[in-house]
């Protein structure tokens, strides 16, 4: 599982970073990015889904990998 943040949609609500600071970072302007290559360890999968479900701008997506 991998997460991606759409920088066009992100408005810096900061919900993802609050929920899962392991998976998201914010830049100096407060916009979110996925940490590293966006890979989600199994034990953080639930947090990743919560981050998606709480983003007011629908800016986060989960990519399931084979």
């Amino acid at each position: 599982m991998r997460i991606t943040v759409d920088s066009e949609r992100c408005q810096g609500h900061n919900r993802c970073y609050a929920i899962a600071p392991e998976l998201f970072d914010v830049d100096d302007l407060g916009y979110a990015t996925a940490t590293g290559d966006g890979a989600v360890p199994d034990d953080l999968a639930d947090k990743a889904r919560l981050a998606v479900a709480n983003c007011p701008e629908h800016a986060i997506a989960i990519v399931e990998e084979a």
Partner: protein, 409 residues
């Protein structure tokens, strides 16, 4: 004074679909049933009041308008009898950038403010905020009845923003008056408001602080603004002053409303209060749920040019009220939308707006709200509303309790 009694000389609303008024006593007392019935009847209501205004109440419509910066302008974001005149800065800049700005100017004006309000910078104000909360609680420690709004909530955002701007803490009272005037006095006739504005007291105060900071730069938000550049040039002092007005107006009664509404909830819902005291790990979801269900802020737009929206003939210059609190109660978006579930895990609320105008201070507001609840519960794990009849709510586009007498022992 922060309490506004709706003016009694206005015609009471009898038909919310065609003659709504967000300053009507029924709306001020309890807007939720009004929005609920409009949602099923006609999702975009209209009124001839305020010179013509529309009212969408579904999450879908409010979302769509928030994103549509082509058909809607932000040059005026407070619906009132006072329409923006020729003296006000025209779009795309507006009177208080970037909240009153439109693309493309908006992005640049916003970008220069964002670094001062990012989550990591705001975390640096946590200890000041925590000390302030304790100081406020200490000041009323000998009382059995405390007003959670007047003695506590209203001072927190006020004094934090005064601290951020680098103004003397003793000037906090000056700002309270202006916030009241600008945001709560929507039903004061336009001429009267204009006269008050032209008094220029706030501008003079801010100009004096700007001059001090120009003469002697400091490590604070005022000097940050004065050193910021837009298009390779330093901001004009008028722009800096406009931005300060925005921070004061947007940052204070909004957050005090959220803190007050949350404490009012805990004062009247002993089960939630005990749960939160017993399990502080619920605080994060509780804060988001309080923000959703008691969202204080309603914004507005003006129609930029004639077009049809959801079958309604929107005309250039019409106001459009954007009640984010109504979006947050839309059952199409939130299961059990009218219930407060402090462990609600999925909560895509719009308390801070949607799209390019997302509340610049949302990280600050959230930090203040969380610490205010934490410190209050640490001091008073047991408290209850003393006299429900004395609870009053603000009128206007920022909704929150202005009197919350609670018994703390």
């Amino acid at each position: 004074m922060s309490t506004t009694e709706p003016r009694s000389d206005k015609r009471p609303v009898t038909d919310w679909e065609t003659d709504w008024d967000h300053t009507d006593p029924a709306w001020v007392a309890n807007p939720y049933p009004i929005w609920e019935s409009l949602r099923s009847a006609c999702p975009v209501a209209h009124t001839e009041r305020f010179g013509g205004a529309w009212l969408p109440v579904t999450h879908d419509a409010i979302h769509a308008i928030s994103y549509d910066t082509e058909h809607f302008t932000s040059r005026s974001v407070v619906v009132s009898e006072l329409r923006p005149g020729d003296n006000d800065l025209p779009a795309p800049i507006g009177i208080a950038p970037p909240i009153t700005s439109d693309p493309p100017f908006h992005a640049d004006a916003r970008r220069l403010l964002l670094p001062a309000f990012g989550p990591k910078v705001i975390a640096g104000y946590e200890s000041f905020t925590r000390d302030l909360c304790r100081e406020l609680l200490d000041a009323v420690a000998d009382r059995d009845i405390v007003d959670a709004a007047v003695d506590y909530a209203q001072d927190i955002p006020l004094r934090v923003i005064v601290k951020m701007l680098g103004f003397p803490q003793s000037d906090a009272e000056v700002f309270r008056r202006f916030i009241h005037m600008i945001l709560e006095a929507v039903d004061v006739p336009a001429e009267e408001r204009m006269n008050e504005r032209e008094g220029g007291e706030l501008d003079a105060y801010l100009d004096a602080r700007i001059a001090e900071h120009l003469a002697e730069p400091r490590d604070d938000l005022t000097s940050f603004l004065l050193q910021a550049e837009l298009g390779g040039e330093k901001l004009h002092p008028d722009h800096v002053r406009g931005t300060m007005v925005l921070l004061l107006v947007a940052g204070i009664d909004t957050t005090w409303s959220a803190i007050g509404a949350s404490l009012l909830h805990l004062a009247t819902h002993a089960d939630d209060r005990r749960r939160l005291v017993d399990d502080p790990s619920l605080l994060d979801t509780a804060v988001e749920e309080f923000l959703r269900v008691y969202a204080p802020v309603t914004m507005a737009r003006m129609v930029a040019h004639d077009f049809e929206f959801e079958g309604c003939p929107f005309k250039a210059g019409d106001w459009v009220l954007l009640p984010f609190p109504a979006a947050n109660r839309d059952p199409a978006m939130f299961p059990e939308a009218d219930k407060v579930l402090i462990d609600r895990a999925e909560n895509r609320h719009a308390a801070f707006g949607l799209g390019i105008h997302r509340c610049l201070g949302s990280n600050l507001a959230r930090m203040e709200l969380r610490i205010a609840i934490e410190e209050w519960l640490a001091r008073y794990p047991d408290f209850e509303l003393d006299d429900p009849s004395r609870v009053t709510f603000s009128a206007g586009q920022v909704r929150g309790p202005r009197r919350i007498p609670v018994r703390v022992r």
